[in-house]
């Protein structure tokens, strides 16, 4: 009986550990490096629910440009990628990841556009999303906040430098600095 109890406790602890939220800071770029942001107070918090295979992400911007739209994405570093990530379509070249160069680093990526942070008169805003179920695997990613909204989506601005450029990346500070997300 005692052994069973200890096993249950160990199992619960492992689930809690797997579900623990990770918080990481934004850094500038990878395209624009002068966009205002309070880098100490701004953050991304994410966690994986191993039972539902869902990824929860909250994007928080503090001290950015007031009354502005920042489309937030996950960029996957990959060679090929499926057409969907959870309930969102992915941007690839017929399944092949697209090679881009930023900050002198060349890598192949696929992107998924998750939503938009809208800032208030103080330049503060948040956006939270639950993605999933996500296919099991290990994903090597960077989070990005674009300089506007509409790229890859209907109803926003065009997919040009003014809207699609990366204002903030995480982890950074250089394109290709990645976070690993594992979906069991």
């Amino acid at each position: 009986m005692k052994r069973i109890f200890l096993m249950v406790v160990a199992l619960l602890l492992s689930v809690i550990a797997a579900s623990a939220a990770t918080t990481q800071k934004w850094t500038a770029g990878w395209d624009n490096f002068s966009e205002p942001l309070n880098y100490n107070k701004s953050k991304i918090t994410w966690s994986v629910n191993p039972t539902t295979s869902k990824l929860s992400v909250t994007f928080k911007l503090v001290g950015a440009t007031p009354s502005k739209l920042y489309q937030v994405t996950i960029h996957f570093f990959c060679t090929t990628f499926p057409p969907t990530f959870g309930q969102f379509p992915t941007e690839t070249n017929n399944g092949a990841c697209v090679t881009i160069t930023r900050q002198g680093v060349t890598a192949s990526v696929a992107a998924v556009e998750l939503g938009v942070v809208t800032t208030d008169i103080n330049g503060n805003g948040t956006f939270a999303v639950v993605v999933g179920p996500v296919a099991s695997g290990t994903y090597t990613i960077e989070f990005v906040a674009r300089n506007g909204a509409g790229c890859g989506l209907v109803g926003g601005g065009p997919c040009d430098t003014n809207h699609a450029a990366g204002d903030f990346q995480s982890p950074g500070p250089t394109f290709g600095d990645t976070t690993t997300i594992t979906i069991p």
Binding site: T65, S67, K68, L69, Y70, Q71, T84, G86, Q87, F88, P89, E113, L114, G115, V116, T118, D120, I121, N122, N124, G125, F127, A128, N147, G148, A149, G150, G152, L153, V154, G155, G156, G157, N162, H163
Partner: protein, 125 residues
Amino acid sequence: MGATPGKLYQVDLTIFCTTFPTTFGQFPVLGLNPYGTCQTNTRQGVTASEAFVEVGVVATDMHGNGSFKVVVGPVPSGTYNVEFRVLNGAGCGLIGGGPCDQDHSSADFQSPGPIFGDTTTITVP
């Protein structure tokens, strides 16, 4: 739920008013004439004076589902007659989106509706 997949819908509060302050909580108020008078508009045959507060964007997934949550405040005490609107795109009154034209700023959904001017009363004590 069930909207156009992969689309941005800007959401706002339409506040029916004669005059209104320049801010509502932490958000600027749009559509005010000089001296803070509310703009008169006609929709669905109903004419009313209103101001707008753009609070965020719902981005839909491949199923046309999406959600957005915001906390507004502190809001001055008062009684506010409002309609919630969902616009046909994102960017009107904000930086970094589409232009403030028919394709982006026209109202796709209203609540309560079904007629412009059907309002919800929000009381802030």
